[in-house]
Symmetry: C3
Subunit: 262 residues, 3 copies
């Protein structure tokens, strides 16, 4: 693999793409690290929706090259005393507010170093109370991408705000999870790991008391049939072939889905 | 022109931009080919809409630099027996499912080589049944961009799934086409080539039995007037100045539009 | 700071991102200047909305690196006699139609050179009447990014179409401005400079005759409370914590907002 002459910086925000906020992040990054390759993960996290932001970041991050710097800005507490963090988590670096947004990616790290961003030398000269993504997080990420060591950015800390996803519950022979996320196709992604169905032992999946047939590709579903399958992020998902399960069932986040040995 | 030290990889999908699917494609590409310049054509192809995907790809592709690698993922058959293809078509490379999505760009190629992607050496080590864009197509595209010869990716094939656009019909002195696509301004793009009106011989354009005045720029239209003009993609289009013809007429794909010598 | 081996070209249009128009701009740029780093400011300017385009460009531009080339295409007069311009404005270059879109960024320049784009040597070989962003503006921007001097692009001109934002009005002890823009969070950005409230002298902000409490961060607002604060672009804005002021008040552009010394 070629040397990373172009360090990757990946962005995740709830800014939307109509206005100038995302461009400000990129502009600030390019001033400091012109050779950076800036990649958008998503800017359409629902405003202030930390759990969806955390899930999206965690689902995307592990596919990126080693040394990628991730910047997450879903930050309803901007300008308050909530801390800003930078982390080295295994081969990746993360920058974001300490509000749970980084909770999932940091929790799965085997090796983790954390700093509280306190060194203004790596920020813009003037910082606002309303856009610290631009004023602090983007410049810090760009400095990391240029090779600045984590420890220079502030003081080491040991704790970060975790994010607790709804836990799986065992009920007799069945395991109950729930819907975590609806994707752009209307597929319903659950918190049930695919290992629960992947060993080919017969299982029964249920949603709203309906049995849901387990298939191995979207196209195996019949017209309008709700099916369950091993989703690409490692979780069981419910889907309708060439249709939207979310729309058809007006599905809601946190609704239960269960898997039982039959 | 400078040497393409930064090979271009252009992406077209129906993934939307809210979730992490597009980021996964880019992340996988950058792991394999960090110097790639990844350009989004569109990620807002309507879900599973192969004809709109094919049109959009064909409208964009010929403007790109030689050697660009295009990845098209509108793939309702993911995980079934439909084949994945890579093609060298004149100066461009294309990667996508063999379902018609590549039908227009391959049909116009003067020189064409096709392979069925069968060599897992150029895929991710593990592949899913639900996201072969990430697991097979993105890595293959990145290897092509790095210089991997097409023939190594699989076995040569001679046929691909074509895509038949609605044909033009001659009716006496008139030629009848139809609406193919509505753009973001609400302009109605037809399948009638601009050569039918571009030679300045007087013609009459009709839509829903109304005569439509032919103009040469959007601004020539009067308030609310439907006009016809030579669109930038080489086809006649219907438009309303500073308005949306699609909305005003609740226009539908496939509706007839005719041109006749007067 | 590293040498700009990758010149930045920043794009702002009203094209939307579903179709192929943005991709055409990028493709043409990459043909001429493959090493360019192309950054999207926004492609979701409301169709033909020159004031919103001008505001968005002005809000984003000053954060970019020196030498950035900006291309603005909100161009209802495409194909008519309206001129296309390129400008050197302090450290930046701008390319766009002479219709007010560049009005704000050019007005604040201390040093300004302008040319009317008349030299077809720097355009695509064939140009349409309907997509001069692709045929003229994108290639001109790419040539600028490669180092082509401004003066070669056409004939010098002295005037450009200005854009007049609604002026502030003094009424006794109060200054009346208005809402200019609604951002993606539903925050209402006014034309009242933050200097009016930033010196900590007590002031009263009013919107629809309601007094609006001035706070220093979004999170200081109480549930559902409309607050005023110093926005990140240098203007007073009205906001609701974790909510949308625009939606709650069905706010309209140009509605008055006033600040008075109490």
């Amino acid at each position: 693999m070629a040397r990373l002459a172009t360090p990757t910086i990946a962005l995740l925000t709830d800014f939307g793409t109509a206005g100038w906020y995302v461009a400000c992040l990129k502009a600030v990054i390019l001033r400091i690290c012109p050779q950076a390759h800036v990649v958008d993960i998503s800017h359409e996290i629902p405003p202030q929706d930390i759990p969806v932001g955390a899930l999206t970041l965690a689902a995307a991050a592990s596919w990126f090259p080693a040394k990628t710097v991730f910047v997450g800005v879903v930050d309803p507490g901007v300008g308050t005393s909530r801390r800003l963090l930078a982390a080295q988590a295994d081969a990746y670096r993360f920058v974001g507010p300490d509000n749970g947004l980084l909770g999932l990616v940091l929790a799965r790290a085997k090796r983790l170093s954390l700093v509280h961003l306190t060194n203004p030398r790596y920020w813009l000269p003037e910082t606002s109370q309303t856009f610290q993504g631009r004023d602090i997080m983007a410049p810090v990420a760009a400095h990391l991408a240029r090779g600045c060591p984590l420890r220079r950015l502030g003081v080491p800390v040991n704790r970060y705000q975790s994010l607790r996803l709804p836990p799986l519950q065992r009920e007799g022979k069945s395991i109950r999870g729930c819907i975590l996320y609806t994707d752009s196709f209307g597929n319903l992604i659950t918190n049930l790991p695919v290992s629960l169905v992947a060993d080919h032992a017969p299982v029964q999946v249920r949603y709203r008391r309906m049995p849901v047939r387990v298939v191995s590709s979207y196209a195996e579903g019949r017209d309008g049939e709700l099916v369950a399958l091993c989703g690409s992020s490692g979780y069981l998902e419910l889907a309708i072939r060439n249709g939207s399960a979310a729309w058809r069932y007006q599905a809601r986040r946190d609704e239960p889905v269960s898997v039982s040995r039959s």
